[in-house]
């Protein structure tokens, strides 16, 4: 091999590595199918064959759209549109020819991310009986449970607050798909990096929640209404989920 060739290959390798790094930096927040490990591992093994996408009976998997570099063409999910349904036999993993999606003993071992509830937006936190995410969860009472507590200043209503189990949530995203709140954003999301997710959950717990503010267009006297303990309306001028 000539020196010039060595230099060329070496330069190519450097550029390639930089591209991979760039891809990791930009795509590590993207959700990956069950069985994927960290983004570097996944990207190094995924050959973009599309077999996991074909294998998904729910059409939950699709290719990444706006990634650059080697992340382009890899499988991902938009859980708001179609969440992973945690198939018992995990056909996506079975279809993967390279081990980019690693075999798991049980669907409970899937770790696509961790759900984080935005407590400012969650209407269950405001004592409306919602808890859609809780009832939708394939691992109800394991990955998510209800914390029952009194509603402040109200003797006859309790808050049924959904709480994520940080160890058991698989990040399948069915809670995100089903959430009834999407204004200004969905009240629950999947964060892929579990450590980051745990930090966010801790911050949510510490939040001092604002009183449920009434929308600007409310016609009666809002102060009077709140004093009487009303929960406030949904502003129908905003689009619903």
């Amino acid at each position: 091999m000539k020196t010039s060739e060595i230099v060329a290959v070496g330069a190519g390798a450097v550029v390639g590595a930089q591209l991979v790094m760039a891809a990791v930096r930009t795509s590590n927040s993207v959700l990956r199918p069950p069985g994927a490990k960290d983004e570097g591992d996944f990207l190094s093994k995924c050959i973009k064959c599309g077999k996991c996408i074909e294998a998904c009976p729910y059409g939950a998997l699709h290719v990444t759209g706006d990634m650059i570099g080697s992340a382009v063409g890899t499988p991902t999910l938009d859980v708001r549109n179609q969440a992973c349904r945690l198939c018992e036999d995990l056909p996506c993993i079975a279809a993967c020819p390279t081990g980019a999606l690693c075999e798991l003993d049980n669907r409970r071992d899937v770790r696509m991310g961790l759900a984080v509830i935005n407590r400012d937006l969650c209407i269950a936190v405001k004592a409306l009986r919602c808890e859609v995410c809780y009832r939708a969860c394939p691992l109800i009472d394991e990955a998510i449970h209800i914390e029952y507590k009194m509603r402040e200043g109200d003797a006859i209503h309790s808050v049924f607050e959904p709480v994520i189990d940080e160890d058991k949530c698989t990040g399948c995203g069915l809670c995100v798909e089903r959430c009834v709140v999407d204004n200004p954003e969905i009240a629950i999301r999947i964060v892929r990096d579990r450590d980051e997710a745990k930090r966010l959950i801790a911050a949510e717990k510490d939040k001092v929640l604002e009183a449920y503010r009434l929308a600007e267009t409310w016609g009666s006297n809002p102060d009077e209404y709140e004093r009487k303990g009303g929960s406030g309306p949904r502003d129908m001028s905003k689009p619903q989920a």
Binding site: N81, R129, R135, Y148, S231
Partner: protein, 862 residues
């Protein structure tokens, strides 16, 4: 659809892979997006354009109202701007919910603005198109009204046993009252029944048999006072969300408060209960008797309460099941409601077989749990509130189970003190207010009156200005619900009119009733008229569809489970050409009753002249004035002093009609709902929260009623002044098995019900995008072990087959509803998963309410 989507995904994947291998990035854009879901967020109303920063902002008008959906009856406030609802919020001044709602209430305003609202009358020319999406064409109101009226008149004149009206516990009170008046006094037909028959009838017959007056004596405030809650076959956490919030709040405030969930399967209600007792279907009868037996055997019943208040009876036994259409007239059917006077000792004797050992063996509930339950009732200090709904009512012995619960609470004296009551929850917003209080049943007249009682007919005639004896023609009850539809399926009903229900989805045994069995094809011959707001399976079978006002598009009133009557004010105009049901009723009535007379006067004028101007062919006032006028006539039934002739019969026949006294109409609006009986004290109309319990009226006790008719100083300060001999009846009811028992061929019990996100058949909640997103499909909830043994994976489609029909449905092992082995569960909200094709139509012989909970089934892997 699925293939298309998957092949799209596949090609997108390939395109992306190629692009990654060296294609340009631009080539990717647009082809690698996530497949779009059809969420339909474009519905009007979901984006009602509140134009920000417009200088001449139109005024926002707020009216008080009540939720359209369930029997909790939560008050709401509706904000309207520019003729459109812009907000709905909990009403803090409604004493049933005090300002909070569930998600159905949160999204309540969106219900009006689904994309496919019916806004034009529709006519079907060709009956063979029934059951399809085709065949209905738009028509004018006159054309549709003339057609319906001519068909009804023709059928009525020919044979009035061949017409029927199927109403609803969602019909507002004044509408139900007028419909009943038209059908019973105008057409002299008792073939009118509500969907509440399939929901509350067992509770009604239970209350009537035990107390001779319908509806619970307690109220929602009992939830704030009990020491022990017992849910019997009730998934309150999902079906009564805000009441469950209240129950939970009470538990949270006092650690000693407990909740026992007695159920056939683990539900979201079980999830927060302290003890869950899973029993084998049907054995709840024995469990209640077991406790009663324990109390008597151990001398731990309430002697004073028994002495002061109770009489004992034996009921007919071995009454079979309504397998055949001829059941009602069979020997078993005819005697099924019989009772004979008895003694406490005889009652005790019959109970004695229900030992803890025997009942534990029969029910599958452990002896320890049964003992704990017995001991709870034995504790004289413990305040116990029993709550039940469909598990008890939709039961082949539903009336019996209602009896057994009352029996238990009565002999233990757990009745009438705040926190101590046997409380039957309701499923519909006005099952109580309309179906039960107005009495839109085949055997009833308004206000607890029945057709086969002479003085009840005289009293009704007095109020309706009918000649004495006029209603004798309807002295025999008409067809109850299943009878109507069984007869229709055989071609014996010529005209059916339904309103505020969706029977082609909600009835059991749809394989038969929709003619899917190829044998019962009557539905194609019956002329079917449907009042509706959205297309449903029922409108697919309609010959004429009347588009009607939805919820606050007119004024109406609902009566909830705690006897609270609440007005929902008119807030917006009906959509398109939709009309108020009362307008439709008047238009049909005046056509059908043309040239008929009552007492020498035009019949229509005689019955409805008080609200309808025949010359001008219009109402004699606006929505408020018409509702008030109807209410004030209806109110005479419970305020007989308003009319001399009525007062005289009330007095002479000892009817005690004031037991259900209602207030003047405007009081309900001012007070944001009131629980009856409502008493006028010093010029103020005061609610009664605890019926038959003595105490200050101002605090919600039944002081005025007891002063009027009852006695002071009896056990628990109660006086059952409406009961025969002022003594409720404890009727012995044994355990008898379900109508179908699992066998080798059909090894599962199939149970059906409701889940929080959707209400009933989903005809309204599925038009609300957020709710449809929250729960888009109906699943069959199965036990994991059953799935394993049948090799069914979570999410796989299966065929559920019963003796009555079959349905394909996806199975799930998600524990939202977690049945034990041998039981499967599915909700009935999804019309594309028509589970009622497979549900039995065997009914409780006393209440004629069918058992939606225990059809035997097999599950086939597809």
């Amino acid at each position: 659809m699925e293939i298309t989507r998957r092949s799209f995904v596949k090609s997108a994947a390939i395109a992306a892979a190629m692009a990654a291998a060296g294609g340009s990035l631009a080539a990717l854009s647009g082809c690698a997006q996530a497949p779009e879901k059809e969420t339909g967020t474009e519905g009007a109303g979901t984006r009602t354009g509140t134009t920000a920063n417009v200088p001449d902002e139109p005024e926002v008008v707020v009216t008080s109202s009540v939720c359209r959906y369930c029997g909790c009856g939560c008050g709401v406030l509706v904000s309207v701007k520019d003729g459109k609802i812009i907000q709905v919020a909990g009403d803090p001044e409604n004493r049933s919910n005090r300002g909070l709602n569930c998600i159905k209430g949160y999204y309540l305003g969106d219900l009006l603005y689904g994309k496919d609202r019916l806004t034009k009358p529709l006519i079907r020319e060709d009956a063979s198109t029934k059951g399809t999406d085709e065949g209905l064409r738009e028509a004018t109101w006159d054309e549709a009204l003339d057609l319906v009226a001519s068909k009804l008149r023709e059928a009525w004149k020919a044979d009035k046993s061949r017409i029927a009206f199927w109403g609803s516990g969602q019909q507002p009170i004044t509408e139900g009252y007028l419909t009943s008046k038209f059908w019973k006094a105008g057409l002299l037909s008792n073939n009118i029944d509500p969907n509440a028959r399939m929901c509350m009838a067992s509770a009604v017959v239970g209350f009537m048999n035990v107390f001779q007056t319908d509806e619970p004596a307690g109220c929602y405030d009992d939830l704030d006072n009990a020491d022990l809650f017992i849910t019997w076959g009730a998934n309150m956490a999902e079906a009564h969300p805000m009441l469950y919030s209240r129950l939970t709040a009470h538990k949270l405030q006092d650690e000693s408060v407990r909740h026992i969930d007695i159920t056939t399967m683990k539900t979201r209600t079980s999830a927060s209960a302290d003890t869950v007792m899973i029993f084998k279907p049907g054995t709840d009868l024995a469990i209640a008797n077991c406790v009663a037996n324990y109390l008597i055997e151990n001398d731990k019943y309430d002697h004073q309460f028994v002495e002061d208040h109770l009489q004992f009876k034996m009921g007919a036994e071995n009454i079979g099941n309504a397998y055949e259409d001829t059941y009602d007239k069979s020997e078993d059917g005819a005697r099924s409601g019989d009772t004979t006077p008895s003694t406490f000792e005889e009652y005790a004797e019959r109970l004695s077989e229900y030992t803890i050992d025997y009942v534990s063996e029969l029910s599958g509930v452990s002896k320890e749990d049964l003992t704990m339950l017995c001991e709870a009732f034995a504790d004289p200090e413990l305040k116990i509130m029993s709550l039940w709904t469909m598990g008890v009512n939709q039961h082949n012995r539903g009336t019996w189970m209602n009896h057994n619960l009352h029996n238990l609470h009565l002999i233990s004296g757990k009745y009438g003190k705040p926190g101590c009551t046997a409380f039957s929850l309701t499923g519909q917003p006005s099952a109580c207010g309309t179906a039960r209080e107005v009495g839109t049943f085949s055997h009833r007249l308004p206000a607890d009156l029945v057709v086969n009682n002479e003085s009840h007919r005289r009293f009704t005639e007095a109020i309706w200005d009918l000649p004495e004896g006029y209603l004798d023609e309807i002295a025999s009850p008409g067809f109850h619900t299943i009878k109507i539809f069984r007869e229709m399926s055989k071609g014996n009903i010529d005209f059916l009119w339904s309103a505020h229900n969706n029977w082609a989805q909600s009835l059991p045994n749809l394989t038969r009733f929709l003619g899917r069995d190829g044998e019962h094809m009557g539905i194609f011959d019956t002329f079917i008229t449907v009042n509706e707001v959205y297309p449903t399976i029922t409108t697919k079978y309609a010959d004429v569809v009347f588009p009607v006002a939805l919820w606050v598009e007119r004024e109406g009133q609902y009566g909830n489970a705690e006897r609270r009557t609440t007005v929902f004010q008119k807030a917006v105009e009906p959509m398109g050409d939709a009309k108020w049901d009362v307008w439709v009723l008047m238009q049909v009535a005046k056509r059908v009753l043309k040239d008929e007379t009552i007492d020498g006067e035009d019949a229509f004028e005689h019955l409805f002249g008080f609200i309808w101007d025949t010359k001008e062919d219009t109402f004699k006032g606006n929505d408020r004035e018409i509702n008030r006028a109807i209410w004030e006539e209806y109110r005479i039934f419970s305020n007989p002093q308003m009319k001399e002739a009525a007062a005289a019969i009330n007095e002479s026949a000892g009817l005690h009609m004031e037991a259900k006294q209602l207030a003047p109409y405007d009081e309900y609006i001012e007070q944001h709902g009131i629980t009856w009986p409502v008493r006028e004290v010093d010029g103020k109309w005061l609610a009664t929260k605890w019926r038959f319990t003595d105490g200050p009226q101002e605090e919600g006790y039944d002081e005025v009623g007891i002063e009027m008719y009852g006695k002071h100083g009896l056990a628990n300060n109660m006086s059952f002044y409406k009961s025969a001999g002022q003594k409720p009846s404890v009727v012995f009811r044994p355990y008898e098995p379900p109508a179908e028992i699992p066998d080798e061929e059909y090894p599962f019990y199939f149970c059906t019900g409701r889940l929080l996100e959707h209400w009933h058949t989903g005809s309204m909640t599925r038009r609300v995008d957020a709710l449809n997103r929250a729960l888009p499909e109906a699943l069959l909830y199965m036990n994991e072990a059953d799935c394993k043994s049948l090799d069914i994976k979570d999410g796989e489609k299966v065929r559920l087959v019963t003796r009555h029909g079959s349905v394909e449905i996806k199975a799930t092992t998600s524990a939202r509803v977690a049945p034990p082995q041998g039981i499967v569960y599915a909700p009935f909200f999804a019309e594309e998963t028509l589970i009622n094709l497979a549900v039995e139509d065997y009914y409780c012989p006393l209440s004629k309410e069918t058992d939606y909970k225990k059809t035997c089934a097999k599950i086939e892997k597809l």
